[in-house]
Amino acid sequence: MNLEIETGIQTKQRKRKNKLLEIGLILAFVIILAVILPIVLPAFRLRLVGRFLSLSIVALGIDLIWGYTGLLSLGHGIFFALGGYALAMHLNLQLPEGKLPDFFTLYGVKELPWIWQPFYSLPVTIIALIVIPGIVAGILGYLVFRNRIKGVYFSILTQAALLVFFNFFNGQQELINGTNGLKTDTETIFGVLASSANAQRAFYLSTVICLVLIYGLCRWLTTGRFGRLLMAIRDDETRVRFSGYNPTGYKVLVFAISGAIAAIAGALYTVQTGIITPSIMQVAFSIEMVIWVAVGGRGTLIGAILGTLLVRLAQTFLSERFPEIWLFFQGALFLIVVTVLPDGIVGWWQNNGWGKLRSLFGFRDRLATYPSIEIDPDVQQEREQITGNKD
C-alpha cells in the first residue's frame, strides 16, 4: 500500500522499474517534441513551443538553486541575458570583411570594440556563452555565500544585481546598442538567415536536445550524495557545517551551474525570438521564472519543465481568447498554487494528492488492516519472514 516502506531488494526493483519508466517517458517526450510537433504545428506555433522549451531550461536551473539548495534567486535574468547577448553578438558579426554591425555607425563607432572580437568564432562564442555567465554567477555567489548571506537577503541581493546589469546594459549604446538591443532575425548563421524556416527548425531541435541533456545533468547532480547534500543545505545548513562540510563551495558551484544553464536557455530563446534587449533583465521576468518552478513543483525537475510549459501555454491561449482579462487567470493560477498546492503540481501528485482528492469524495483505497499497522516497517518485516517473500 505504501511505497515508502519496503525491503532493500524491493527498493532496488522499484528503482530499476522507475528508471526504465523515466527513460521511456523521456523518449516519448523527445519523440513528440522532435518528430511529431514539427509535422503537426505550423512554423509560427513551433517557434513558440521552442521558446517555451528554452524557458523551461532556465526553470531547471532555478529549480537546482531554489528547489534543491533553497536559495531563491531573483537575478537569473542576468545570466539569461548574458547568454542571449553572447550568441546575438556572434550573429551580428556575420558580415563581409571589414564591415561593422549597422548600429555602430549610428553612434560613430569606427572600430569593433575589443570585447566583440572573440565572438567572430562560433566555438568561442558557444564556450563563452556558457562559461562567462557561469563565472559571473560563481563570483557573485562566492561574495554572497562566503559572508553567509542567505534567505531573503540573498534574494534581495540577486535582484539588486539584476538591476545593476539592467541599467548598465541600457546605458551601453556604443557597445551593445543600449535599450534597442541586438537583432538576430536579420542576421545569418552558417550562411542561412536566422529567421528562415530551416534555421528555426535547427534552433528548435537544438533546444530539444539541450533540454534533454540539461535535464540529464540536473538529474545526475540531484541524485546521489551531492544532491542529498544540497537538500541538507536547504533544510539545515548549520547542521551541515557541524558535520564537517563547508556549504560555501557547494552553493557557489550550484549557483554557477544554474547561471550557465540560464545562459544556454537565454541563447536559445534569443535566436527563436529574433531580438535581445536589456528588457529581458526586467525584474518581473526573473520573478516569473521562479513562478514557473513554484507552479510545477519545487525540488522536482519534471515540475520545473511542466510548470513553465503550463504557465506559458496558458498565457498564450488565454491572451488569444481573452485579451482583456487573461491576466486575471494568471493571477488566479498563482493564487491557487500558493494556497492549495504549495508543493506545486508535481509535488501534489507525489504527496498522493490524487488519492486524497478521491477520498474527499468517498472513494478510498481499501486497507486490510489499520493504516498505522499497515505501514509499520517492523510489522512488514515480520510478515515477510512468515510468508517468505511478499511478492
Binding site: 515508502e4 550524495r225 557545517r241 564537517g244
Partner: protein
C-alpha cells in the same frame, strides 16, 4: 604545563569569556577534561551551557581566552574545520535531515572526503557502506533505514542523530540535553547508548534531568553558574555542595526546607 599533560587532555579551555553586547554569557571560564572521559555539565537556565558548546564548535567566537583541542588552538577556525578535526555535536532538538531517509542521513555524514568534487564524483566505498549498515543496527533503525527521517518518532530521531555523530568518527562528542522530551524508557536507551559510546570516545553531555545525570555520570560532573565554573566533582560531591543547592533551589541550606 608540560608536554605530557597537553596530550592527555583532549580539551582545555583557558580564561574563556564570551560577551554579547556587554552581557557575559561566559565569564573567565577555565575547564579541562581528559581523553576518554565522560563529563556531564549541569547548571541552571542561563548558566552558559549552550554557549559553552557554541564556542567549542566554532559557532560563537570567544571575546577572550582560548580553546585547545588535543593541544591545538581552535579559535578562529570555521565550524566545518573543527568538525573535521574530530569534534561532533548533537543539538538539543534532534536535527536530522527530514527529507532524507535514515540511511541517507548516515551516508552523508560518513563521507570521508567532504570536499565538493569528491562528493560529486566519488561513490560511497564499501567501508562507508559497512559503517552505515553497522550504525543502523546499533541505533536500532535497520528496519526503518529507507523511511524518511520526517516519519520517525522523536526518540528515533534522537538516536539517528547520535548515529550521525558517530558516523563522523569524532574523538570528542558534545551532546546537548539528549534526554529532553523523551519517555523514561527512551531516556534509559539513550543513556545506555551514551555509556557504550563513552568506551571509545570522550564525551561532554549537558543535561537537566538529574535522574539521567545519575545514570551516566561515572566520572566528574561540572556545574556552571552565570557563565563561570561553580564546582566540579563526582555526582555525590556536587549534589551535597551547598553552593549548588543554592543556585538550583534559590535558597541556602540553612533555611532547612529543601
Amino acid at each position: 604545563m608540560n608536554e605530557q599533560s597537553t596530550i592527555d587532555k583532549i580539551l582545555e579551555i583557558e580564561n574563556l569569556t564570551v560577551s554579547f553586547d556587554g552581557f557575559k554569557a561566559l565569564d573567565n571560564l577555565n575547564f579541562s577534561m581528559n581523553t576518554g572521559e565522560l563529563r556531564v555539565i549541569i547548571g541552571p537556565n542561563g548558566a552558559g551551557k549552550t554557549t559553552f558548546l557554541d564556542v567549542i564548535t566554532g559557532k560563537v567566537q570567544p571575546t577572550q581566552g582560548r580553546v585547545l583541542f588535543k593541544g591545538k588552538n581552535i579559535k578562529k577556525l570555521p565550524e566545518y574545520q573543527i568538525a573535521r578535526l574530530g569534534i561532533g555535536r548533537k543539538f538539543q532538538t534532534p536535527r536530522v535531515y527530514l527529507n532524507l531517509t535514515a540511511k541517507e542521513n548516515l551516508d552523508l555524514v560518513s563521507n570521508h572526503n567532504k570536499n565538493v568534487l569528491p562528493t560529486l564524483f566519488a561513490r560511497p566505498n564499501s567501508g562507508e557502506k559497512r559503517t552505515v549498515a553497522g550504525l543502523l543496527e546499533t541505533i536500532g533503525l535497520d528496519t526503518k533505514a529507507n523511511l524518511l527521517a520526517n516519519l520517525l518518532s522523536h526518540g528515533e530521531k534522537q538516536r539517528l542523530e547520535i548515529g550521525m555523530l558517530v558516523a563522523q568518527s569524532p574523538d570528542l562528542l558534545l551532546v546537548d540535553e539528549p534526554a529532553a522530551g523523551l519517555t523514561d524508557e527512551e531516556t534509559e536507551n539513550i543513556g545506555a547508548l551514551l555509556l557504550s559510546l563513552a568506551e571509545s570516545h570522550s564525551i561532554i553531555a549537558i543535561e537537566h534531568d538529574m535522574e539521567f545525570v545519575r545514570q551516566i555520570a561515572n566520572d566528574k560532573v561540572t556545574v556552571l553558574h552565570q557563565g563561570a565554573l561553580l564546582c566540579e566533582g563526582t555526582m555525590d560531591e556536587v549534589q551535597n555542595d551547598p553552593r549548588v543547592i543554592e543556585v538550583y533551589l534559590g535558597q541556602t541550606p540553612e533555611d532547612g526546607n529543601y
